[in-house]
């Protein structure tokens, strides 16, 4: 493998991992920055995205209480899963906002943290009871496998390139939502001063619920993309929280730009350490976060500190 080819390989590997981090972190950052709600149960949305995608796209023999009904799944194909997962997880997000987030908006950060973490554990066990603790991996179909030729360089993994492109499109859509829609405008204003938005006659709870659910749908998509790159098992919801949380604090809570930049930084760091010293891959993310936060405690693009 030429130096150029391995440089290209390193680039798309880290960008595809960064894509998953960013998709998950975006919703967490929105909930934290705009709704002042720290939602550890956000990890469950990633978990649901991965599992729902799995059983929409394929059929599997499962363990757990559904084991008797194996094989389980709709077997609609991978493309169907990519379309269905965000819709379903968006709906789950709306329910989560109503039932879990809404009663806790006014509570302390610690209350929110403990309750949502508990909910994450409950949902994780619920998945384990249903389909068992065993791992699954996505059998991606034809269009999502193989390599694409890069003239003069070699080849690149087709699916990883798709993951990156897909994420770029999703982030552009989110940006356009913020920048060009009335709902986006209300959310941006509400991030600064929610009561004042109400004093302009706007029912802020609706745009807030919408943006929460969009963040959920993105985490669900992160689940299906992450699930297809890594493996799928009940603990992935907690596992993804570590990089996602670090991306949020390094980037600066509530900043879309910050989330993207931090996601890229952490994706590159993770891929690089995995190469030279795999045991330290996760630890290296913490190290990077410690360095950046000790220089800039509000994160790279954070405007002010979030107080409890």
């Amino acid at each position: 493998m030429s130096l150029l080819e391995s440089a290209v390989r390193f680039t798309y590997l880290s960008l595809s991992i960064a894509s998953v981090y960013i998709l998950v972190a975006v919703g967490f950052s929105i909930a934290f920055g705009t709704l002042k709600f720290v939602n550890m149960a956000h990890g469950a949305l990633y978990l649901f995205g991965a599992y729902i995608g799995l059983f929409v796209a394929f059929e599997y023999n499962v363990g757990g209480s559904l084991g008797a009904y194996s094989p389980v799944g709709l077997d609609l194909g991978f493309a169907a899963a990519l379309i269905l997962v965000p819709v379903v997880v968006f709906a789950i997000g709306l329910v989560m906002e109503r039932l879990i987030a809404n009663p806790f908006y006014e509570r302390s950060l610690l209350d929110q943290l403990l309750v949502t973490f508990g909910i994450l554990l409950i949902l994780q066990e619920f998945v384990a009871i249903l389909v068992g603790r065993g791992g699954f991996s996505y059998d991606r179909t034809g269009w999502a496998t193989g390599t694409i030729p890069l003239p003069g360089i070699g080849t690149a993994s087709r699916w990883r390139i798709y993951v990156i492109a897909f994420t770029i499109v999703l982030l552009a859509v989110l940006y356009a939502f913020y920048k060009y829609t009335d709902y986006g405008l209300a959310v941006r204003a509400g991030t600064e001063d929610a009561e004042m938005v109400q004093m302009l006659g706007i029912k802020i709870s609706r745009p807030f619920a919408l943006i929460f659910a969009i963040g959920a749908a993105y985490a669900g998509l992160g689940g299906i993309l992450g699930g297809s790159l890594f493996t799928v098992h009940p603990e992935i919801g907690i596992e993804i929280l570590i990089p996602a949380l670090l991306v949020v604090v390094v980037g600066g809570v509530g900043s879309l730009t910050g989330t993207i930049v931090a996601g890229l930084l952490l994706g590159v760091t993770f891929t690089a350490t995995t190469r030279v010293y795999p045991e330290m891959a996760t630890a290296s993310l913490f190290l990077l976060a410690i360095i950046i936060l000790s220089i800039k405690p509000t994160g790279l693009f954070g405007k002010e500190e979030v107080t409890a």
């Binding site: 009335d182 600064e192 109400q198």
Partner: protein, 248 residues
């Protein structure tokens, strides 16, 4: 019947009893000033009317246009025809000037297009062009973040955005002259006078008694959460006793 009527309103911040039976009226087309020292309960009165929490209104009634609005949510109070220029302006400093103005249009879209369609009311807030004509400086600064404006410009924007709201009948302003140079205060007061002349009723909360009474038809003086004096602007100007309630 008055446009706005407060009847024995008692409001609390937690356990603190702030408004102790406030009763007042604002007639349609009037400019009424609510005066009083810092901490007298002026802002609490405004927030009670607006349905903002805190404070909590535990007893008494607030009527607007013949409807009881005491327990309405803030956004519903606004949609019933009350606009607010709050203390310290509370602009969205990260949004541009134009985005700040556009926010007031959103309520028009979601609620009032329906209202208009079934013929309930004609929710015609001012267009951006009309607002820029009224406040030319805002047009020059329309792409700028609101946080970068000078104090006077911010106050203009804070007033301008209320004019974009649909069918405002009552405009409540909380200390619009606060922190502004005397010359700018005059500009702001002139703007308020223009709005009033177009038929909007104004409730003006002020510590700047002189500026307020120059504009107002009538006034109330609030002290320790109760109305201690009411009268025409003329009477208030000539009442020497009032100094004890107004001097800081």
């Amino acid at each position: 019947m008055s446009l706005l009527e407060l009847e024995d309103v008692h409001s609390y911040y937690g356990h603190s009893h702030i408004l102790r039976g406030v009763s007042m009226e604002v007639e349609e087309g009037e400019i009424v000033s609510l005066l009083g020292r810092n901490g007298a309960g002026k802002t609490t009165t405004l927030r009670s009317i607006a349905g903002a929490e805190p404070p909590e209104v535990r007893s008494g009634h607030i009527q607007f246009n013949g409807t009881d609005i005491t327990d309405l949510e803030t956004e519903d109070v606004i949609m019933s025809g009350i606009a607010i220029v709050p203390e310290e302006r509370r602009l969205f400093s990260n949004l541009t000037v134009e985005e700040n103005l556009e926010l007031s249009r959103i309520s028009q879209n979601t609620w009032n297009t329906i209202r208009r369609k079934i013929g309930l009311s004609d929710p015609s807030g001012k267009s951006l062009d009309e607002l820029y004509e009224l406040f030319p400086v805002l047009e020059e600064r329309k792409e700028q973040q609101a946080g970068t404006l000078s104090g006077g410009e911010q106050q203009m924007l804070s007033i301008a955005r209320t004019l974009r709201l649909p069918n405002v009948e009552l405009l409540m302003l909380d200390e619009p002259s606060e922190g502004l140079a005397p010359q700018i205060v005059e500009t702001v007061m002139n703007a308020i006078e223009t709005i009033a002349a177009e038929g909007t009723t104004v409730l003006l909360i002020e510590q700047n008694v002189q500026a307020a009474l120059e504009l107002a038809d009538r006034g109330y003086v609030l002290d320790m959460g109760s109305i201690v004096y009411e009268g025409t602007a003329e009477e208030l100007r000539n009442e020497d006793d009032l100094d004890q309630y107004l001097t800081v």
